[in-house]
């Protein structure tokens, strides 16, 4: 026992399991988001349920099982999604008029009708119903419109005009392959369409686009600045207190909380700089502000300031790994310092700069707090880039993936719809950021190998 303690065996065990736990939690988190995000698009079968013994069977989608522990015994309930097809008049009681319903297991019916159909409308609503044979209905109604005859929770068949329908499928009779096709189509729609219905349905294209435009603009702003600053620190700066001060301010800039940077962006860039710009160039439009209000440019500028240290540190690391012999060789051939830097050093350190840039982009893509202050909105009527002169509208507000996630998750009236959508958004955001980081990582590995070869 004494020996066990003295040799540190318990500590080894604890530290090893700490590592396992950290990595395990991370992996579990990734897995969870991936699975839940994917689930959002998977065409799961529809089930039938009855609200009462005599009640008419209705269609719905099982969301998840909930264990209710409020009473002494644990009660397993199903959360069921009835779609948006419900209207007030056909709801059984005001209490059960919501889209989501908690059911006991015995209320579910075992059979899954094969003509159950899931209809996605252009306005973002999702309907679950029974598809009726058009010919049958036409006989009774004697009219021939193009569209889909559907029996919803209400008794009477409804005609959905074809132009309202975005897509529909019969989830209970799809083969695995067909499910895959629907899954891919829904993904495509999600990535390319605009959101609808209070953000809680539809796609996220404007958010992806806004994120990309903002990030690219930020990259344009931060790259030259960060690279030049790193070159100064590594190639030109004399070893004195001033350089030390600059270095310290780079580290401290990296440590500033992003929200403080957002505050600075709002108070200084937007109100002070933007306000002066408005007074100087857009005086005719005052008091309606043009640049004196949060917008794309200020967001990019704020994030550029935030990610500046990332670029500087990565670039400087690359510069310091470049063998000194390369510089000496260039000097010995009569090159000036500028020629040495621009013709020998920078081309060889370029991958390091690219690494820094990618890391900066990854950081910027994941930041939300500063953007909430300097230009992101929940729903932007126009994209920041379009065919109107001057094509890039720096003063416009824009949508952003991270903020969209926050907004859908927290401001949405319908938490359940939002939940699965949020996982999907999170999956997109996470994929984007992890890919960026992974490429930065691989690039850095390659560069290190290359330098080892030169030296």
């Amino acid at each position: 026992m004494r020996q066990w303690w003295q040799q540190g065996s318990p500590w080894v065990w604890l530290s090893a399991s700490a590592l396992l736990l950290c990595l395990g939690l991370f992996m579990a988190l990734l897995g969870l988001i991936a699975v839940k995000g994917m689930q959002h698009f998977w065409p799961a079968p529809l089930v039938q349920f009855q609200l009462s013994e005599q009640g008419k069977p209705q269609l719905g989608r099982l969301v998840r099982q909930i264990s209710d522990r409020s009473e002494a015994a644990t009660n397993r309930l199903w959360l069921l999604d009835r779609g948006d097809g419900l209207s007030k008049e056909n709801a059984e009681s005001p209490a059960s008029s919501g889209r989501y319903l908690l059911l006991e297991a015995q209320q579910l019916l075992p059979e899954r009708p094969s003509n159950a159909v899931l209809v996605q409308l252009h306005d973002g609503r999702t309907l679950y119903g029974t598809m009726l044979d058009a010919a049958e209905v036409w006989q009774s109604q004697e009219q021939a419109e193009t569209g889909l005859w559907l029996e919803l929770a209400s008794q009477r068949p409804v005609l959905l005009p074809a132009e309202d329908i975005r897509a529909y499928w019969l989830p209970n009779q799809l083969s695995l392959w067909q499910r895959g096709v629907v899954f891919c189509q829904e993904w495509r729609h999600f990535l390319t369409a605009a959101p609808s219905q209070n953000q809680s349905a539809g796609g996220i294209f404007p958010a992806i686009f806004g994120t990309l435009v903002m990030v690219l603009l930020m990259a344009v702003l931060v790259t030259p600045f960060g690279i030049l600053a790193a070159i100064y620190l590594h190639e030109y700066a004399p070893k004195n207190w001033l350089t030390q001060l600059i270095r310290t301010s780079v580290y401290n800039l990296a440590g500033i909380p992003s929200v403080v940077m957002g505050i600075f962006g709002l108070a200084f860039f937007v109100y002070v700089l933007g306000g002066s710009l408005d007074r100087l160039f857009y005086a005719d439009q005052l008091p309606a502000p043009t640049f004196g209000t949060p917008g794309l440019f200020w967001a990019a500028l704020t994030l550029a300031l935030l990610t500046l240290p990332v670029v500087i540190v990565a670039t400087e690391e690359g510069l310091s790994r470049l063998p000194q012999a390369q510089r000496l060789g260039s000097f010995a051939l009569g090159a000036t310092q500028a020629e040495t830097i621009w013709k020998v050093v920078v081309p060889q350190a370029a991958p390091a700069m690219l690494t820094g840039l990618i890391l900066a982009i990854a950081r910027a893509a994941g930041e939300v707090a500063p953007l909430m202050l300097v230009g992101v909105v929940k729903s932007a009527p126009q994209l920041p880039v379009d065919m109107q002169f001057p094509f890039i509208h720096l003063e416009r507000k824009f949508m952003h993936l991270g903020y969209h996630l926050y907004d859908v998750g927290f401001q949405s009236p319908d938490a359940e719809v939002a939940m699965s959508l949020v996982y999907a958004i999170g999956l997109v955001l996470l994929t984007l950021i992890l890919l960026l980081n992974l490429s930065a990582f691989l690039l850095r590995q390659r560069l290190r190998r290359k330098y080892r070869l030169i030296d």
Partner: protein
Amino acid sequence: MQTAMPTTMQTKVAIRDFSLWFQHQQVLDSIELTIPPNQVTALIGPSGCGKSSLLRAMNRMNELMIDCRNQGQVLLDGQNIYQPETDVARLRCRVGMVFQKPNPFPKSVYDNVAFGLRLQGERSRRRLDEQVESALKQVGLWSEVKSRLHQNALTLSTGQQQRLVIARAIALQPEVLLLDEPASALDPISTLKVEELIYELKATYTVVIVTHNMQQAARVSDYTAFLNQGRLVEWAATHTIFTQPASQQTEDYITGRFG
């Protein structure tokens, strides 16, 4: 300091009362040295004696180190290169330098040799071709690399790389060529090639070589200077130094009793 030199000899580089400090440490102490033109001068001495610093003093490469200070003069054709109005880049074109380890740029063989020429503003493709070819021929590399001029220089062997960086230096047609232990990183065969090359180069250039290797100094140089602890101990024609050194220190060193 004991020097026994003919007073009538010609001078390419003259070092006059030259001292050098890195930070607070004195590296060179009042060096007096004359480098004759079209001859090979070897600098020898134990490690840390300042021979490389003396070499770098001749094209002002020491300045690239932090916190370096010097005193005295280095005259190139009678002009003090430490005058403030000296164009350092121009100076380094006139005084080329090759380092201990080959340091080709990760560019093509051709671009490596043409690098200095392009800096000088040479744009004509034809003239560049000619000068690259002639530089490579001078170092005897032409036949080996002419088929792969546009391959990355890092694919060459170390010996080839070292001859390439010599070609890179002489493509600028310098007057003086400084070689800092050019063969220390090479295998015996490559070393031999480089030594032959140095022997040929002295027809065109004034060569100063720093070496650790006594035999090498004896083989390739015409004059030898022996430095110890930042001071020039002895400077004479090579055969004199190796056969009848004037100072005891020199004798101890060349016979391998210290160093």
